[in-house]
């Protein structure tokens, strides 16, 4: 019986020839990561139980990205706890503000997450790294504490759902974000609960790495354990200058078994907007047209990469942000920030009347740098539109990709890019 890419990676890290869905295994970890919110809780668990050594100081990443640059005294204490631990244990992958970025943009960019890896992160969007062909999944702080101590974690081998995207004739401006919102709209926020989501087909091969990251990033929004795309030429060339260690490429066998297989034609998928308060409320941008907006955010671990900023700039070039709109642009990492600046994208944003921020999670989780007041409505390239996600419990968040966000910032209401070009 053949195996899926997810099963093969898990089997290899459990020291087994074969695993089947439902099996409980203990797998060796290639990387365990945490941020400034989940890290301090993991650290106190780690210390409370008398664990005094990490399993491997090269295989842990601590990323202060959520409330940084620190927004208040309490959050400064969190960063300090992370910093103190990182120094004490000589954690190799730790970045100070000014070098740090949003974890799920930063780690792949630095070549730290590689094909064939098993990665746990005390952050639900750890599933992002599936885009390079790794098994990566979110866990809580206690799991992370145990992982940092032992270098292992237990998993129930997930069943896999395959999503095949046929064709390459995408509608204009459609990106990975639209594909994943479209899927979540079809299967719901628990449609892939406990499962692996495997994305494949000519439509995926045609996607850029940045779009693939956006897709795997939101696998958790369908309840999945991980999202994954088998490495191809694009993956390998993305990693060529980045990978800091050897890695192994796995792909699914032709006779692997799947819980379900869904097929789509990419030409059928229009630009998407997810309505409050769940990502599964995805509709075509046409159905959302005309909805008035107060604030627009372009950024986050879903859409804060260079391609996203380029798309937004392409639409905003020579235009002005509507007088009723606050547009906040947040590059995902310092490298993206620098590249975007060199390409002149910041001139376009600033001339249009947008805020350009230092890399941070910021408003994505209602942390800082753009909190919504009661009754306000945001359109955002982030990944969650839960009640109160970006601020007041009576505010609203609509989700979309960078093209719709940029176009809507010019129009002052949710719009298709064609309406402003």
């Amino acid at each position: 019986m053949g195996m899926t890419i997810t099963e093969k990676i898990l089997a290899s890290h459990a020291g087994l020839d074969e695993v089947v869905p439902g099996q409980l295994i203990s797998a060796k970890l290639d990387l365990a990561l945490a941020n400034d919110i989940t890290g301090p809780v993991a650290i106190s668990e780690f210390e409370k139980f008398g664990m005094d050594k990490v399993f491997d100081s090269k295989k842990i990443a601590l990323v202060p990205d959520h409330f940084t640059p620190n927004k208040d005294i309490a959050s400064a204490e969190l960063s300090k706890a992370l910093r103190t631990f990182a120094r004490k244990h000589q954690i190799e992958h730790y970045w100070e503000q000014g070098r740090v970025g949003i974890e799920h943009c930063l780690l792949p960019e630095q070549g730290i997450t590689l094909p064939g890896d098993v990665i746990i992160g005390a952050d639900s969007h750890t599933c992002t790294y599936g885009a390079v062909g790794a098994f990566a999944t979110g866990v809580g702080s206690t799991d992370l504490a145990a992982g940092m101590a032992t270098g292992e974690a237990w998993f129930r081998v997930p069943e896999t759902i395959k999503f095949v995207f046929n064709g390459t004739d995408y509608q204009p401006w459609v990106s990975g974000k639209d594909l994943i919102l479209y899927i979540i709209g079809k299967i719901g926020v628990d449609g892939a609960r406990y499962c692996a989501m495997e994305f494949t087909g000519a439509g995926i091969e045609a996607l850029s790495m940045d779009s693939r990251f956006s897709m795997c990033n939101m696998a958790i929004e369908a309840g999945a354990k991980n999202g994954i795309i088998a490495p191809d030429e694009k993956t390998l060339s993305y990693l060529e200058s980045r990978a800091g260690r050897p890695y192994k490429v796995y792909t699914s066998d032709a006779d692997a078994s799947y819980r379900d297989v869904f097929e789509f034609n990419v030409s059928d998928i229009p630009l998407q907007v997810a309505f409050p308060h769940l990502p599964e409320n995805a509709k075509s941008v046409q159905e959302a047209a005309g909805i008035k907006i107060d604030q627009i955010v372009i950024g986050s671990c879903t859409n804060g990469r260079l391609e996203d900023l380029r798309v937004a700039a392409q639409i905003l070039r020579g235009k002005k942000v509507h007088s009723d709109i606050r547009l906040i642009v947040i590059p995902g990492t310092q490298q993206i920030y620098k590249d975007a600046m060199k390409e002149g994208l910041f001139d376009i944003f600033i001339d249009a009347g947008a805020v350009v921020s230092t890399p941070t999670c910021g408003p994505c989780l209602g942390g800082h740098m753009g909190i919504l007041a009661k009754g306000e409505r945001a359109l955002s390239t982030t990944n969650r539109n839960f009640v109160g996600r970006m601020g007041h419990p009576e505010s609203e968040v609509y989700l979309c990709g960078p093209a719709v966000a940029a176009a809507s910032s010019v129009k002052g209401e949710i719009s298709h890019p064609e309406e402003v070009l």
Partner: protein
């Protein structure tokens, strides 16, 4: 014995504990804001022994362990839901927050009903409506985890045995 607090489907971790409170980690502080975006009264009026009833996919969203910590520190006896999101499920077992899966109980319990739970057997009594439900048993591995008192003591014990 305690009172049932009833919530709907897809109760996410941002509702259980909003990110605006995640700049702190003390359980008491988190408990003081637990569930406030869904029901302002909860944190103020919840009594030790009360029960949270959720629908399907309880605890979806972020991996923040602050969510089960906040619920545990609210002194609720257990959460009963139709189904759980996977990270929340792991986190709850890891920190020793009792969670039960029982769709029948979820539909058979109304807000405010008096509930008695036997965590050993998974038996749920609705004293107000005079009905009884049986929660799904945990797989053997989870039972061991629960018995050990959570993940860290479990790992420690295994290390000692090794």
């Amino acid at each position: 014995m305690g009172k049932a607090w009833k919530f709907g489907n897809d109760i996410d971790t941002d509702v259980i504990i909003p990110a605006r409170y995640l700049n702190q980690t003390t359980p008491e502080f988190l408990a003081a804001h637990c569930m406030e975006d869904a029901d302002m009264a909860f944190a103020k009026e919840v009594q030790p022994g009360d029960v949270i009833i959720g629908g399907k996919n309880f605890g979806c969203g972020s991996s923040r362990e602050h969510a089960p910590i906040a619920i545990k520190a609210s002194m609720v006896k257990a959460v009963i839901a139709e189904s759980y999101a996977r990270i929340f499920y792991r986190n709850a077992l890891n920190i020793g927050l009792p969670i039960l899966e029982c769709p029948e109980a979820v539909s058979g319990i109304a807000a405010g009903d008096e509930i008695q739970i036997d965590l050993e057997t998974g038996k749920i009594d609705n004293l107000t409506q005079n009905t009884t439900f049986q929660a799904r048993p945990f797989p053997p591995f989870m039972q061991e985890l629960i018995k050990a008192g959570g993940l860290i003591p479990y790992v420690q014990r295994r290390k000692k045995d090794a």
